[in-house]
Symmetry: C2
Subunit: 301 residues, 2 copies
């Protein structure tokens, strides 16, 4: 079933202990859509500048991603420059140029109105709410957010949280949003704010899914090298939502499978700078890593 995402498209410049990359295609909508495209048909609402060319659009087309909702406006595309050091668990932002993203107001093309699944990437909560409310026929919608909105716009965030079924955030954000350091308690508090399905991402430690019926943990796939963690969270979301949209099934056992696909896809994302690895995937690689996570976690009852 059709999956729509609203988020950022950016040019990222990244330094990690393994090397660096300059002005490569990034942003939440990019990582999410390229990933989800391995599971279902995906469309994007985003904004780019005049410097965004055929070369970039071709990347989305290669994955049959619908970019009719990508508005091109005068000015430069969003740019982010960041660095990872040590264990690479946190990005240090060196520079942010919002550019055309600063005045982004998502517009949903008529052709997208019948989307059944929605992923609201990390943008201003008031804009997320507008998008959510303009799509009344959704089967499920998911949200990402960040510390900046949790602290700076708690009321707007509360409004959009009340309208979504799924929230995907990281551990620190879950603690900040719930004002509770224990994750089990934090999850219970957050689930009362709206999203009955909560995925807490824990980086190299995997993720925990708090569903309406049960709690599920999935490890991160153990890799020998992590080249660039940028986009891993949006990639997890792309695998999770892509699989849910593909199957159209929000049952407890299917939510678990979706979380495993999230972890699988996240593990590919970090193996290269940018979306390179995610573009070159083969379905058999995805299924093989899914089985490896099964083997990594299985024990006899």
């Amino acid at each position: 079933m059709s999956l729509l995402t609203v988020g950022s498209i950016a040019f990222d410049s990244i330094r990690t202990p393994y090397g660096s990359a300059d002005e490569i295609l990034g942003g939440s909508a990019t990582f999410f859509s390229v990933t989800a495209s391995w599971f279902t048909s995906v469309s994007i609402v985003a904004v780019v500048g005049e410097d965004f060319g055929e070369e970039q659009f071709r990347i989305f087309r290669e994955r049959s991603i619908d970019t009719r909702g990508v508005e091109q406006v005068p000015g430069r595309t969003f740019r982010w420059k960041g660095e990872y050091t040590g264990d690479m668990s946190q990005a240090h932002t060196l520079e942010t140029q919002l550019n055309v993203f600063e005045s982004f107001v998502p517009k949903i093309p008529a052709a997208y109105r019948d989307s059944q699944y929605l992923f609201l990437g990390n943008i201003v909560p008031a804009l997320q709410l507008n998008v959510r409310c303009s799509l009344p026929n959704l089967r499920a919608s998911a949200l990402d957010t960040m510390n900046y909105w949790i602290q700076g716009m708690p009321e707007d965030l509360a409004k959009v949280l009340a309208t979504v079924e799924i929230l995907l955030i990281n551990e620190g954000e879950a603690r900040m949003l719930s004002k509770q350091s224990n994750l089990k308690k934090a999850a219970a508090i957050i689930q009362k704010l709206g999203p009955r399905i909560l995925v807490i991402k824990r980086g190299e430690h995997g993720a925990t899914l708090f569903g309406p019926e049960s709690v599920f943990t999935v490890p991160a796939f153990p890799l020998e090298e992590v080249y660039d963690p940028t986009g891993a969270g949006d990639t997890f979301a792309g695998g999770f939502m892509g699989y849910l949209a593909k199957t159209g099934d929000l049952s407890d056992s299917n939510l678990r499978r979706a979380a495993v696909y999230g972890s699988v896809m996240g593990s590919f994302a970090v193996e290269e700078f940018g979306v390179g690895r995610l573009l070159r995937l083969r379905p058999a690689e995805i299924e093989s890593r899914y089985r490896e996570i099964k083997n990594l976690t299985h024990f006899d009852a």
Copy 2:
């Protein structure tokens, strides 16, 4: 089958955000043996001072733990004072009084010579080696160590590492020992030093077992309150080794089950100060939490 541990017995004074406890029974041999006693018969080699009385010995007796190897000598018992703040992921030592532990030389009573499983708690590596070499008929031996010995006595540690089948250490120690920040690579390096079975403990994130045949991850059991993390690592080891000694089976699937029992027992340890919760357990509680971890990690292939 019989399981022997050599380690510390201490009086701990602990402060956490949940409260404090003064001079309660602790030490690696205490946590390990009380835990393992739920699975198999356990004996201890340790040292205590004149201040160690009937009240303390009764605790071991209650769990049918053989304390004939607990030497009582003139002086005071080992004392440790520590504090946990914030997310309680690390203990801050406020005071260490080695007392009689300073000149501890483990002596293995004749009655213990036919022990089949051995856990060498975190003591001086040269003493661990002596104990290991005095027990030639072991089916498997396991070792714990710490940053202090990894940095301060690398040669002695290397010698004892070469003699054991199993090493249980935490994430930071694994990185320090292997001089490698990536855990998968670190594990491969450590397995070449001797122990073909490596358990890397990751606190609230669970543990990863690197076995001869496969890698296995087990989550920590999600708790709403962690009152006191002291002893959680030795408790994990007690569950892991206790189950291995009980079953006498070092197969891949049994190592996985042992790691789950390690996680289960660790989750009980932190629910109270000291060994109180571990003494009050019922076998049904252990089995129930084992099944809950199964449910927490299961997904359809």
